[in-house]
Symmetry: C2
Subunit: 452 residues, 2 copies
């Protein structure tokens, strides 16, 4: 009788692996790892430190190595490839599906890549080479070259007999691709029709021919949205002339969504979505240092702005106490707008056509919240320093900064996107630069004019 | 001949809709909307302002209304429900799959919910009622009640005949669920086996009985990982006794991944993933105000810390100029650690078992980058203000804050997760509170001790 998986399945597997590793019985580790799925092993490997990873890797039989490698982040995979016997690896690639093979080839560092390539049969190699030539992040780069095509003029019975004769299929399929003599896409025959419709019917009478062919240059983010919107499990990829080039399946689409979303999150703090949690300290520190350096530049810029008003602060020290409040609130409000717009761009819900309306709405929110919090800070600061004019000054600077923050939060990502720069990566730094500079400038500038 | 979709499909559809709306020809809008998928209409509706939404909604035929409603964010759907004829709506629900029906029922506000419920046939209603009773965010809450079960002791031929007799299926299926007399899960018969294996074989000999049954209490985030790891298209949901309760299909899993990831991103700035881009200004402003208020509190806390050192700043104004640098760099470095750990927790790759190692690694990075940037700021500030001691002070405060930031960035999300608080929501505010307070305290405190 089949058992069900544990409720907190992944945590359980990780804890079990760590416990077995600590007990030091490599044979128990082997038995456990052999009992789980390759992707689960990949998940565990990523959650462990490099030395433990190598221990796990040493118990993996060559025939599943490739399947695990394609599920690992490139960085983690590269680390393990260094300690992998080349013969094992070449053997491992023999049974890979073409889409997994392509994934793996993208991972392999140069000398290894050529070796694996040389081991692939001539015909397959040229197929793979042409697939590798498609631009990254396009439909062509994620499609599989293994798919079933049939002709429209045969009966369902003939298709059924053909499938029985062909025998075992490795992956689940939902549709057979119907093509004409010249390999042009005609439509899709769903497996459910094959199972439920009468056998004497012709494929062309049963197939669906609504528009589901994906152009090979379509961006993967668009492909993902299309799969979500149409509840598709697979889709044919077509050339400009409408010929079948390959097929995209839902498991690749899920990876895209996960990576795309992880990317927006991680790049906000200058990290890569491929980040290996347990990369060597030197490697991680160097990567993060770059981001800290960029931010240090903007921090000094803000400091320089404050420096312009040193004389003012020298006379009224309370300004130094209150000034971070203006900058900080601007940063927070701006980030809200920025995040909303970046997500809208990613989900293709924000573009030129509606950008103006979003800007108008965000500015209105900026005005409303600017006034609201201006009143609050005016009262608090006024009471704290027993100076209504200081309070009013803080409130006015707050209104100015919150409106500018809304403007910057909406326009920066749109402008970056237009320039082909990733708004998730650069948007945050640019925004804080604006809100810091304007925040300090408005508060200290107004103080210089009205309080001195 | 089928046409392929446009390369930038969603942008194209949105622009086209806006153009037609602006042209004012509601009939052209109708024709266009009728030519696209319900989920695509939902996507367009979300990208438009309320008044335009209503125009689109007015051309939607009742029989696709429900399908569009379930694809809309709750907030947007609620707005449209207000202007929907109740009879239309009840009619619309008639052909919904049970999982979509459950989604819709979750969306409906109270009086409407009862009305729709009353219109559902008795048997179906009690099925739905029990399904609605499962905890949100668990497998039970996202499963469909429509699935096919077969017995293991029949031949594949019998199954084929049964399916042909049963006729048309609305959704693609990859597996038939094999059960015993008492509805206990026995295994899965893949549709591909049915299409490729010889018809005289028995179901029980062909089915796979490896562990793929999902307990109904499993968290949806775990369910999503399981689907990703095992490349599943559907999975049976089981009771504690191993009986079939329902089935989860991949299209729901994709929604979970999208929402989960959107949630991590949006809640970092205090927004809800269900946020409607074009919600009324008053509604949006109020929501964001809450977050600004929380952050204002921490900003005043930081200001209070600065205030403790007013006398020091009064003597050395340069401190006011440089102090935001320490706080800002701490915030940036801490956010990097925080983001990495929050993502690790969400992907179930960080938990008690390896938390110690992550903390150790992050602290090491904090030390390395602390020293590196301390040297840089010491030199810059030293030259700027012609004071090596001021530079050294800034550098020392930087080291202290970057190490504390690493510690806070790693421990805050783990602690929040343990307490059942969403680290994505509260983590950032807590972190900046720590890095601001420690940053100002370290810099101004050291200055008070050594420079006065």
């Amino acid at each position: 009788m089949p058992t069900t998986v544990k409720r907190n399945h992944n945590k359980h597997q990780l804890e079990r692996t760590i416990a077995l590793l600590e007990k030091g019985s490599i044979n128990d580790v082997r038995l456990f790892i052999h009992s789980i799925y390759p992707a689960e092993t990949a998940h565990i490997i990523e959650s462990l430190e490099p030395l433990e990873r190598e221990k796990i890797w040493s118990v993996i039989p060559p025939n599943v190595m490739a399947e695990i490698l394609v599920k690992l982040h490139v960085e983690v995979a590269t680390g393990l490839l260094k300690i992998t016997d080349r013969k094992d690896l070449i053997k491992a690639t023999e049974n890979l599906e073409s889409d997994d093979m392509l994934d793996l080839l993208h991972t392999l560092p140069e000398p290894l890549l050529s070796q694996v390539f040389d081991s692939i049969a001539e015909v397959e190699r040229s197929r793979l080479e042409s697939a590798l030539s498609y631009d990254e992040n396009t439909a062509g780069s994620i499609m599989s070259l293994d798919f079933l095509t049939i002709r429209g003029d045969v009966s369902l019975d003939v298709v059924s007999r053909y499938l029985h004769k062909r025998g075992e299929m490795t992956e689940a399929i939902d549709n057979l691709i119907v093509v004409d003599r010249k390999n042009h896409f005609q439509g899709l025959l769903s497996v459910t029709s094959l199972l439920t419709k009468e056998g004497h019917l012709k494929v062309s009478d049963v197939m669906s021919s609504s528009e589901n062919g994906i152009p090979y240059q379509m961006l993967t983010s668009e492909v993902a949205l299309l799969f979500e919107q149409r509840d598709m499990l697979s889709a044919p990829v077509l050339s400009e002339e409408g010929q079948i080039l390959g097929q995209i399946s839902i498991d690749h689409v899920i990876n895209i969504i996960r990576n795309e979303e992880g990317h927006s999150l991680m790049s906000r703090v200058g990290l890569d979505e491929e980040q290996d949690m347990f990369a060597p300290v030197a490697v991680s520190a160097r990567r993060r240092a770059v981001w800290l350096g960029i931010n240090l530049f903007t921090a000094f810029l803000a400091a320089w702005v404050i420096g312009l008003f040193e004389a003012t602060i020298d006379q009224i020290v309370a300004l130094a106490v209150l000034m971070p409040i203006v900058a900080s609130m601007g940063g927070i409000a701006g980030s809200q707008t920025l995040t909303l717009v970046i997500r809208g761009i990613a989900l293709k819900q924000v573009n030129d056509a509606n950008a103006g309306r979003i800007l108008a709405k965000e500015l209105s929110i900026g005005v409303v919240n600017g006034i609201l919090w201006a009143v609050v800070v005016t009262i608090i600061a006024g009471l704290w320093f027993q100076s209504m004019s200081l309070g009013l000054l803080l409130g006015s600077a707050m209104i100015i900064n919150l409106i500018c923050a809304a403007f910057a939060g909406a326009t920066i990502p749109l402008a970056l996107d237009k320039m082909g720069i990733d708004p998730a990566l650069a948007g945050g730094v640019l925004l804080t630069t604006v809100t810091d500079v304007i925040g300090f400038m408005a508060f200290l500038g107004l103080a210089t004019i009205f309080l001195l």
